[in-house]
Amino acid sequence: MTQNGWVKPDFGTSSTGSYHQIGKGKSVNLMLCDSSRKKRPQEFMESMENICSPTSSSELVVQKKKVAEVKCWLEQAFSTSNHQARFLLITGPPGCGKYQTLSIICREMHIDILAWEEPIRHYSATEWDIGQYKLLLYITLKDAEDFFNADNPTYRTESNQIDSNFYNHLEEFLERASRFCTLKIKDEKLPLGPKTTLRKILLLQDYPPMIFQNLERWHNILLKFGSRGKIPAVFIVTSNKSFSSMQLKLFPHDLQERLNMSTIHFSGLANTFVLKALQKIAFKSQKATPLEVIQGIAGSCNGDLRSALNTMNWMNTRSNNNEKQHFYPKKRKLSSQRERNSSETAYVRDGSMDFMHAIGKILHSKRLSEVQCNPPGLPPHLSDEFRMPLKENVNELTRNIGDTSYKVLLYLHHNYPVYFNRIEDVSKAIGYLSSVDSLGNQIMYKEIYEEYSLLTAIRGLMFSNTSVNGSTWRPLRKPDHFSITLKQQEFRAEMQEMNGKQCGPSFFSETWPFMRLIRERMKITSGLNQIPQQDYGHKLEGHQLRIIQTPTQEYKPTEFEAPEFSVNENARSNSEVDTGILIEEYED
């Protein structure tokens, strides 16, 4: 592949050829790890990778502490003489260099990485990425046949077969990975010492959806590997938070404990880090990219270095095509707002509007202060309804919010009262939310209604607030709704277990309060409990269940751990909003 190959406008990937390209040569050196390589044409990526891939751990832009942690873990994993399999879980948002860190350190420590790659096209073949070589291994003859007949549609549609096939392959892979040594292939460039072949780790970073259908089997496979496997295993999970539902499903706490698994969480790269890296790369690649463009890219990438690189690559494409007058806007002349916007749109990611940012914008609905429009022309009795024009384009805001209306509504509802000063406005606003909920619940029209309900809620909230004021800092919190529903379910289930009968609404409002009281009293009178509790029945704060053990503790509205739910990948929340409001970090 030539150095300039990626410039070609050919975006098509050859479907069969890419199979081998994936496993091509220096796969470990790739800055851009597997998932992106599959999505994007190979040529496009090629040039950057040689230049920008770090060659040593000192060049990594990842936090030094994290690098040290990974290194430390690897050293420990190989220090024990009995080669007991050990487990490491690396989590972090996309593009923060999880794989890259691991691979660089491994290379420095002369450790081979055996990577499981989800065979997307053909479920019959397992790829073994052994060190820097990739072998295609046909497991059985039948599988091999299937591999060649993979176009056969019936084979693909039989999901059950694929499902079990997948697990079989995974299991086999894990088993063989620890049993066999790396093959030594003659035309190896790097001289591998006898020692290096012994040191290898296993890497899993693709989790196909089939895993989630049969999690039990997955856990069993892991446990089996934990007891029998001889080499350390590293799992990489891409998630925005240190603790996501996917991670919890794949590696529940008890499993982590049983496997003695350690966890390292990578946080997203800080903008300054990205900026530095980009500058270095720009310098290396000898393509003069103006500083402000780099800054713009770094600012809009949300800590995702991979996407930042792609964007820069893309920007360079244009400069290469001698469209320099377009690329270097003559700043003094093109100073008007519109012109700047048009050049920005080239590298600002689409739809990456921060979720919390959007919520903040809606709740803090800024209006133009000076009348720049015609006089309202409202009759006097409606003059209350007059509002200045909004600063934001609401339709655009709604479109960019990029999340389900369900979640947006809950967030808006949970946080709006803080932004209001007058109870009249609040009552109007919640009226809109109530309408949205009661109208939107008809299942038949749900999909059609989704967009309307969101718009109604957003516009309603923005309209109702008549006294938007200043720059006070107001934290955004996650809604209690989920934790409350969970509590409800738990409480109901417990009560049913305890009573051995169904519990209708009257049970909770009548039978249970009295029953608890009566039992409590009986205990006191029979001398089991000497503490007088005269006003027990009058305090709901004491509403913990004393008779049966329950996790429901006292209610403290803000300290809940809401159940996890998926958050938009781009929703990073520690950004400074231009309104001057610092949005509270979501992980909090």
């Binding site: 909920d437 169904q502 039978t511 509205p557």
Partner: protein
């Protein structure tokens, strides 16, 4: 230890304390050995469930009281697994389809199909049908109610349905017409007093008439509540004093405090505080309709005549919306905010008049 409510629950139709005429009719109906699907409705604490169980006992004998709890699993078309708890004897099965939420249709169809398709073995003069008791039918989705309509006709020979509901207003007309509607009205105050006296006598405690009347009044003609109150008062203080304080459920006290908070302060901040309290109640499975109702009762005490009408209509409006919607807190909060806004306006106006 079982509560008096359960301990002294009449087990046969003959032992029922009030609505004697209705009880005799039911006895006659059972004696004939066959009956149509039943829809039993009435306010809470009137004795619907007691009558259903008495009826079943009459029908199948004491074997019906050997209950076992079962968890049944159903799979929705979208491959979601739902678990529903049922209580069953050899002859009947009781289920609250609401446990399945919006998937109640599947539960109803699958379960009734399973039961109805298994033919009853004819041992010693048993009935040729089984009984399915569905509770809280008025909370069923429309979808499920329509499904029930079909199911009812299809399996008429092998199973009978007994539906329990608080009101028929939310049950679709075709369903109502397929069932024999039996209304169980709330017991009169005298009935309640009679039962209270009877239970006290059996327990060997002395219940002064004056206190019994107060209990009956406080119970709002809800017998379950009356009996629970009696027992709670007994453990609280015995022998009874006519002026003794009657124990109330703690959540009602809590809700009263909440109402007072709403009256004393009207601001977004106060609303947030009240919301926290409502969440607390909701997480203890207090029905949202009940919350609005009790809250209304509390705040009406502080209102003027005209304001009362306005606020009551507000409460009705949002309770209706609550039934339509899915996120109850939106509607309860809307009611609270509306009240606060109206009340604040009222306070400001009356203050201006005074000046």
């Amino acid at each position: 230890m079982s509560l008096w409510v359960d301990k002294y629950r009449p087990s046969t139709l003959a032992k029922l304390d009030y609505h004697r005429e209705q009880a005799e009719r039911l006895e006659k109906m059972v004696a004939k050995g066959n009956f149509p699907h039943l829809l039993i409705y009435g306010p809470p604490g009137a004795g619907k469930k007691t009558r259903v169980m008495a009826l079943l006992r009459e029908l199948y004998g004491p074997g019906v009281e050997k209950l076992r709890m079962e968890h049944q699993n159903f799979t929705t078309p979208s491959n979601k697994k739902i678990e529903v708890m049922t209580v069953a004897s050899n002859y009947h099965i009781e289920v609250n389809p609401n446990d399945a939420g919006i998937y109640d249709r599947i539960v109803i169809q699958e379960m009734i199909k399973n039961i109805a398709q298994a033919q009853q073995l004819d041992i010693g003069g048993q009935r040729e049908f089984k009984v399915v008791v569905l509770t809280e039918v008025d909370k069923l989705t429309k979808d499920a109610q329509h499904a029930l309509r079909r199911t009812m006709e299809k399996y008429m020979t092998t199973c009978r349905l007994i539906l329990c509901a608080n009101s028929t207003s939310k049950i679709i007309a075709p369903l109502q017409s397929r069932c024999l509607g039996i209304r169980v009205p709330a017991p009169t105050q005298e009935d309640v007093i009679k039962v209270l006296q009877m239970v006290s006598k059996k327990e060997g405690i002395n219940l002064p008439d004056e206190f019994a009347i107060r209990l009956a009044e406080k119970s709002e003609r809800n017998l379950r509540r009356a009996l629970l109150m009696l027992e709670a008062c007994k453990v609280q203080q015995y022998p009874f004093n006519a002026k003794q304080e009657i124990v109330e459920p703690d959540w009602e006290v809590y809700l009263r405090e909440t109402g007072q908070k709403m009256v004393s302060e009207q601001s977004p901040k106060a609303l947030l505080e009240v919301r926290g309290r409502i969440y607390e109640l909701l997480s203890h499975c207090i029905a949202p309709e009940m919350i609005i109702k009790k809250l209304l009762g509390e705040i009406l005490k502080n209102c003027d005549g005209q304001l009362k009408a306005e606020i009551t209509s507000m409460a009705a409006y949002y309770e209706h919306r609550l039934c339509l919607g899915s996120k109850v807190i939106f509607h309860i909060e809307a009611f609270i905010a509306k009240f606060m806004a109206i009340y604040k306006r009222f306070l400001e106006e009356s203050f201006a008049n005074m000046m």
